[in-house]
């Protein structure tokens, strides 16, 4: 119920349109009832052969309702669809607004790609919330009340019979449909999701399956999932057949009841004989208002589930709370980023991921942070980007504490190249302009050239305007990273954070990319997170992290001669790299 109210809240800004569409929808049904009612009235009175004059009103009524119904329906559809699209836009903007402060900290744990994909599907499901779920019952209530009252003018029992029949059809069968949906629908969704996951696994592992001759086992497994899905779907079809059959039966039952109460009235003279056929026709026509309600009830269930999933995501508190009176970082001549005694524990974890970290980054300085995966290297980058709020210690940007600044003004100082940069389904140009919308042509070409992409760009069919495919899938791994490097260069940020920028590249390519990066950002402050020890002699300082603590620091040669953990890592890597023997080195 709370979910429904929250969803209805989205309709508030255009409630006038909502009311109009409900009224139009009810009026359309009334016009249909009016058409059949006046037709019955015309025929029944004509049977008494009273001459043409008394029939004129009915004839006009028949014509009026006959024509107006189509117009009303047309208007109703336009208005209700307009409401739908407004609702959809509203939901999108709302969801984005809620997600923005959550990203990326709160979206990391889940398999965020799936969650977002599902969120989009959920929002699209809710698109129908108004037209197919909310509007039909509202208009049905109007029709039920109106017709119950109108027919009740003849006799209260007749009115009650009709209203009761409509209520049983619209309300009772909707409950039944909702219940069936709850019983079977959830299982259906689960079975389909299971089938989908199974198929994804099979298709991704198809080489192994065929190579290990597992076709028969796979086939048996899938067929049993298919059988389960089919069984549920057959039950669902049975359920919806029963509900719709019951609706037809209820229509007839109501008709018989109405006649049962009305016939004695005719015999007693309380009701004119010609009014009986009209009553019968009105009863039959009224059911148009409730026919689609069971279906709406089933949709409601899916809608509520979608809404709950969306609310679950959007209701999370953001990881970082912006200060109410943010300070700007002072513009000083010697920009500096200082970390002192920084300690951070992920929510729900027993031990800190980073413990007492101190370092300071100046333009022109190169720092590498190395260590095994899980040592806390990437967390450091995330704290610097202010995706998370740290617990103890401080990060100072030009002497001002991070916690006192707006995240926007912090990030202006930082450029990033990550392991998996996201590329938008857009042109090369648009992907670069994300960083600085005001960059001119010359700057774009310079960034591309310095990132080593000139040759690549000249081979593109439309140059900068070439569409790079969904998520940039038309680019190779190396090209993606280089495009991200071009972005970072374009940003003009004084500090560059490199978060394993060569991950996913083969070893023959990674060193070339690192050389490009290091020469490109010679004048900026570089913090490089890596677990591959290449180009280490280029670093001013190497910080070795283990379990969130700095265990060694110094330059490459000092650390090697010290013979500690770093030296061990270096030798291990050398053994792997050059295990074929040094005599083959060129």
């Amino acid at each position: 119920m709370k979910t429904i109210l929250r969803l209805l809240g989205f309709l508030k800004p255009f409630w006038g349109w909502v009311v109009l569409s409900v009224v139009l929808s009810a009026t359309t049904v009334f016009a249909g009832i009016g058409l059949l009612g006046t037709s019955a009235d015309l025929i029944a009175r004509a049977a008494l052969q009273p001459g043409i004059a008394p029939l004129q009103v009915s004839i006009v009524g028949v014509r009026f309702f006959g024509i107006s119904r189509a117009f009303l329906r047309y208007l109703e559809r336009l208005v209700s669809h307009s409401v739908n699209f407004r609702l959809l836009a509203q939901l999108r903007v709302w969801f984005y607004g809620r997600l923005e402060p959550l990203a990326p900290a709160k979206l990391q744990d889940h398999r965020s790609g799936d969650i977002l994909q599902r969120a989009i599907g959920d929002i699209e499901t809710l698109e129908n919330f108004y037209v197919r779920v909310i509007a039909p019952p509202l208009s049905a209530i109007l029709v039920t009340a109106g017709m119950g009252w109108f027919v009740g003018l003849v006799d209260w029992r007749v009115g009650v019979a009709l209203a009761g029949g409509l209520l049983a059809g619209g309300g009772g069968l909707s409950l039944l449909a909702y219940w069936i949906g709850q019983k079977l629908g959830a299982a259906h969704v689960r079975q389909k999701a299971h089938l989908n996951a199974e198929m994804v696994g099979i298709f991704q592992g198809i080489t192994d399956i065929i190579a290990y001759s597992q076709e028969k086992n796979i086939r048996e497994g899938v067929v049993s999932s298919l059988t389960a899905v089919s069984r549920t779907q057959r039950r669902l079809a049975l359920g919806s057949g029963i509900v719709n059959g019951l609706m037809i039966f209820l229509t007839n039952l109501t008709l018989v009841l109405v006649l049962w109460f009305a016939i004695p009235l005719v015999n007693g003279g309380a009701l004119e004989g010609y009014q009986l056929p009209v009553l019968a026709m009105l009863t039959l026509a009224s059911f148009e208002a409730v026919n689609s309600l069971p279906q709406a009830a089933q949709l409601l269930r899916g809608n509520l589930e979608s809404a709950q999933r969306l609310f679950e995501i959007s209701d999370q508190p953001p990881a970082v709370i912006e200060p109410s009176h943010p300070l700007e970082a002072p513009a000083v001549h010697d920009t500096r980023l200082e970390i002192s005694h920084l300690t951070f524990t992920y929510p729900g974890r027993p031990l800190p991921t980073l413990n007492e970290i101190s370092l300071s980054l100046l333009p022109g300085r190169k720092i590498a942070v190395v260590g095994e995966s899980g040592a806390g290297k990437s967390t450091l980058v995330q704290l610097l980007l202010r995706y998370w709020d740290y617990d103890e210690g401080e990060i100072l940007l030009n002497g001002v504490d991070y916690k006192k600044m707006d995240t926007i003004s912090i990030r202006r100082f930082l450029g990033v190249v990550s392991a998996a940069p996201y590329l938008f389904s857009a042109s090369v140009r648009q992907n670069l302009l994300i960083v600085r919308p005001d960059a001119d042509e010359q700057e774009l070409f310079r960034a591309i050239q310095l990132a080593g992409l000139s040759e690549w760009l000249s081979a593109l069919p439309n140059g900068l305007e070439t569409w790079i495919g969904e998520h940039g899938q038309l680019l190779s791994g190396g090209e993606r990273q280089r495009l991200a490097v071009a972005r970072a260069f374009l940003s003009q940020a004084p500090f560059i954070l490199l978060d394993e920028p060569t991950a996913g590249l083969d070893s023959l390519n990674e060193i070339l990319l690192m050389r490009t990066i290091l020469s490109l950002f010679k004048e900026r402050g570089v913090l490089w997170i890596t677990h591959r020890l290449i180009e280490m002699d280029q670093m001013d300082e190497i910080i070795v992290l283990q379990n969130g603590r700095i265990i060694e620091r110094g330059n490459h040669h000092r650390l090697l001669t010290a013979g500690g953990v770093y030296a061990g890592l270096w030798q291990a890597q050398q053994r792997v790299l050059w295990s074929a023997g040094p005599e083959l080195l060129v």
């Binding site: 028949v62 309702f65 189509a70 057959r234 008709l255 049962w260 792997v576």
Partner: protein, 577 residues
Amino acid sequence: MKLDKRLLGLLGAERWLMLLIGGVSLAAAILIVLQARLLSRILTAVFLQGQDLNAAALWLISLLLVGALRAGAAGGVEVISGWLAVKVKESLRRTLLNRLLDGGPAYIRQENSGEVSNTFTNGVEALDAYYSQYLPQLVIAAITPLTVLLAVFPLDWLSGLIFLLTAPLIPIFMVLIGKGSESITRRQWQALSRMSAFFLDTLQGLKELKQWNRSRGHAERISRVSEDYRRKTMGVLRVTFLSAFVLEMVATISTAVVAVQIGLRLLYGLMQFEQAFVVLLLAPEFYQPLRLLGQRFHAGMSGVSAANRIFALLDSLPTRADSAGRKDLTFKSGDLIRFENVCFQYHHRETAALKGINFEIRSGEMLALVGNSGSGKTTIAHLLMGFIQPQQGRIWINQHSLEEIDLLKWRQQIAWVGQRPYIMNGTLRDNLLLAAPQAGESELQMAIRQAKLEEVIARLPEGLGALLGEEGAKFSSGEIQRLALARAFLKNAPIIILDEPTAHLDAALERILEESIRSLCAGRTVLMIAHRLPTVMRADRILVLRDGQVVEEGNHSQLIQENGYYASLVRGYGGRA
């Protein structure tokens, strides 16, 4: 139209259900007529003949009974239609599954596996509306109006004539307007999916937007795009809703015309009330199925567009000839694998993946394939495992062409280790035994030791019984690699085909894998798709591929001396380290 035929063809053995739907619909239509006549009889009796409830009671009960039967018939049609759709979907999925397994890895490539599974689940599901709604409604729309017409004509031929003349207007208008709006609707649909894609892209790239301080202004852009979409769509809908308007108009005006003309004839005593009222009752029943057909036509059409994707997938898949009964060959020491002028081109690709490849692998030798992605390394591996056949040239195993050999038995002699090993739902033990179902406990333990999987198993409370896959424990990529290696050890096949992991692993983990891979390759014939220099350097021979051709061949020092493409790659890497 061809597509419709193919969709009908999918009914297959379930065609009789369509007949059943027709039969039950006919029964329902007859009950509709009966119901109208009964109701009219009761009303006439009370209204004009002055009978009371006692006299009408029996009629009323019969009316209820007929109503119940009609309800049963209508519900029955729906249930049968639903079941028909379920049957069709299931058998289509079975066919797809078989064909996909026949087609194998060459047809389900890594990059489109998501799309294929989406077609398999959601694509086939989208056909539901076609079979459960559109097709049955087509039958109902043919049977019910015809039955009503046959009932109306003897009662009043003039009204029957009005029905007969107006009825075709509905499908005619439907087709006319539908044709015009179809392309508009399709364009609109594209706009919608583009907008969804834009929204998804924005959400997925939120981190990037945020990183570059662009995220807050984006809400406005979403709002603008949505509002823009709403305006355009409403413009289109104003036109497309006209079709519904015309259909509604035809149905209501016809009912009105029928009502007025029989009213006038009643007035002048040219007709009886009882008959007239039956005609009026039947008028909505006559038009209703036709209008419903219009609605369900659209539902059916979305299924048809899904069918296009499904059939395109089916048509791209080969039907594989069974290789059972062909020659059974064991690969022994001293044997030779030879690729002779092998060419291969994938379905729907413009350029050939392999353009006349020649090379040999002797037993006990390790051959490394080097080259960029797309140069043909994986295709060579797939050819050797018999997933695909060369369009030109031959693959020889000694003096036998691979075409003469029983492929299932051939594959038993190959252990394949890929980059993304298949993890099935089941225990760790099941997942290991997949490679060699008959392996005994001691062989299993041996393979685990060789692949250095013990420490992973020791960490799991259930040990080998731990569940993996969708509902089970998640393994890291390094652990999955070790699992794949354990499978290969367990299979103990003379030939190893290995796609070396490219994922970045810790130096320590890389060493563990390195050692296992080395002991796996020792004494076996190895085809290695290599990504890392040390592996390449260790190979007996290196085949450097570029755009489907062998550009260099030899061992590491030979190739360095040749000072070609390979040498430049190595220098780029090794110069500094």
